[in-house]
Subunit: 355 residues, 2 copies
């Protein structure tokens, strides 16, 4: 495809990324973090593309966040040398991979149990201790220690290992739970101080309530992913508008079986089944009254009842997904454009990395 | 990994496929189809692996079904020469790819509109007409013509094109709608006969109600996919038992934050968000009382409240997914075993093909 061509002539489904919007989104969030006095450590799960992580670092991010070793390896290969891996790593094969990664970059991991810490301790030595944070459950009800007292105990357990260094606290909060995060971090900080344990990093995150991060008095690092592309869930959260959404899924109307039904060539293999609280599967940019009522793997069924103007068979229409990160994971490539003009195809290098 | 090793020692998440169960599932369904007098044309969307399609053909299938050109190309490359593509193909680039594919195999496609037919007609010539079926909506409310009268009109339109040959009717039915399929096919067959239009194939499908397919008096070809692996949805449908499910997702308990909560290292990137009417995200084989209440991309949150025995951190546990096809699409590789003994790793060659 030539650089003069419009991305809207691409075969579908295709994931389009507007680079102007990406650049604006990065700049906007970095500026906010700078003003709030927070270090930005973007989560690369949203784009899974080293080139885009480098944009985030160039804007001022201190490093990146990955969720899996195999993701982190790809970004390390691309020259990114400060990575936080927010996952309990265990098992011989993964610990060996973690050790190899640690040899070549500044690596930090998290742990929420003695089991995880003991596995790390057996793997790493005093010559280059591994940086470890304690993951705290501040209401997200996923991983994490349940109390500041437990956080202290794990910090002490980390500090007792020759090959490990306790560096901070990390939480993955639910939106609008800043007060719970503050309370957990403050109380733990007090306990740590009493035991003379230094705590360098207080890391929180999440895109939905990113723009209230300035209210923190203790967090000093912020991990967010989705803001680089934005999506329908972040529009709903008030984080951005539809015009700030960099990712569009370009689809074709392949069937118009009835007056009120259209079928698109993008199903759960392109849009995913992630609802994130919505009752339908994406926002139809070109026909905002259209409702994507159902997905099978290769088809989206669209109810056009509320549309005054209706799309024709063969017409291409754009969708903003409910959740952008999971779409990236399905795509071998994305198509980068600027306001519609094709610029380049990029491989989603860290797509599909499951461990 | 050596062939003596147990697959349960693999790093997680990993998709395990028990080949003994695969072979049994193929044999059972082929035998049923033979007895019912139906040609089997398995849908490869479930496994996306040429080697497994060849098992289905060796058992007696007449050909395969694909949903996308890029899938079909991979199976044609592997030597499979009779493919039904159950999708409205349109657009210059795809029509060119379709023509190239048609040069080298016996290819049949479907259409449910004059728009689709006209695109095909412009692409194919009388020297080797393309085989085209009319897709009928018999209640599935996805693609397909709405009435036998429309089906006739499209059959006539196909027959009027030098480069196309009408070969039959195809439907993707909802489970337990055999009577609607029969009525639609019968009425259309009558209309076609009156116009002296030959109709070679009456194609229906779907795994959930596969074992009632013998009741048809008109369908002569059956497309099913999921039966090769089976999954939780097919157990619920009464098609099979959990012991007939060939796919397990092997995961590790990476966190036990509370007495009743476990977190696994398999999230929506491994299990997918497909609920298929369930309220949770998979069946935990090793702890049947456990409930997977939530997924994020890399974590499953499991409620252990109902479990008398509870898994420990580091323990590996197996999950049967709600929907097996979408899991295959996420995986670069699967691990084939026989009753737990590792046999080989297979690339999911047609994974992630979106067009």
């Amino acid at each position: 495809m030539s650089q003069q061509a419009s991305v809207y002539s691409l075969s579908t489904p295709a994931v389009l990324i507007d680079e102007n919007i990406v650049d604006n989104n990065i700049a906007r969030v970095q500026k906010y973090m700078d003003q709030a006095g927070l270090k930005a450590r973007p989560h690369i799960k949203t784009h899974k593309i080293p080139e885009f992580a480098k944009k985030q670092l160039a804007a001022g991010a201190v490093g990146i966040t990955c969720q899996k070793i195999s993701e982190a390896e790809i970004f390390a290969d691309a020259g990114i040398d400060d990575i936080l891996l927010t996952f309990n790593i265990m098992g011989d094969e993964k610990l060996a991979a973690l050790k190899a990664l640690h040899e070549r970059i500044t690596l930090t991991v998290v742990a929420d149990s003695k089991h995880t810490i003991d596995g790390l301790a057996e793997t790493f030595g005093a010559e280059k201790p591994l940086r470890v944070m304690v993951e705290c459950d501040t209401g997200g009800q996923r991983c994490g220690v349940q109390s500041p007292r437990e956080a202290l105990e794990l910090a002490q357990h980390i500090e007792a290992q020759a090959g490990l260094k306790f560096v901070g606290l990390m939480t993955y909060p639910m939106p609008n739970t800043e007060d719970d995060v503050e309370a957990f971090f403050e109380e733990t900080a007090g306990l740590l101080k009493r035991e003379n344990i230094e705590c360098e990093v207080f890391s929180t995150g999440g895109s939905p309530s990113l723009f209230s991060a300035e209210r923190t008095t203790i967090a000093n690092e912020y991990r967010a992913g989705t803001y680089i592309y934005n999506d329908r869930s972040l529009v709903r959260a008030g984080h951005c508008g539809f015009d700030d959404c960099a990712m569009h899924i370009l689809t074709t109307v392949v069937s118009r079986p009835t007056e009120t039904r259209a079928v698109l060539d993008a199903g759960s293999k392109a849009l995913t089944s992630d609802l994130l609280g919505f009752s339908d599967f994406g926002y139809v940019v070109d026909y905002p009254e259209a409702v994507i009522t159902g997905l099978s793997e290769e088809h989206a069924v669209v109810d056009l009842s509320a549309c005054s103007k209706k799309p024709e068979i063969g017409e291409k229409i754009r969708i903003i997904p409910n959740h952008t990160c999971v779409v990236s994971n399905l795509m071998d490539n994305i198509y980068v454009h600027k306001g519609g003009a094709f610029d380049r195809k990029i491989e989603v290098a860290a797509r599909g990395r499951v461990w």
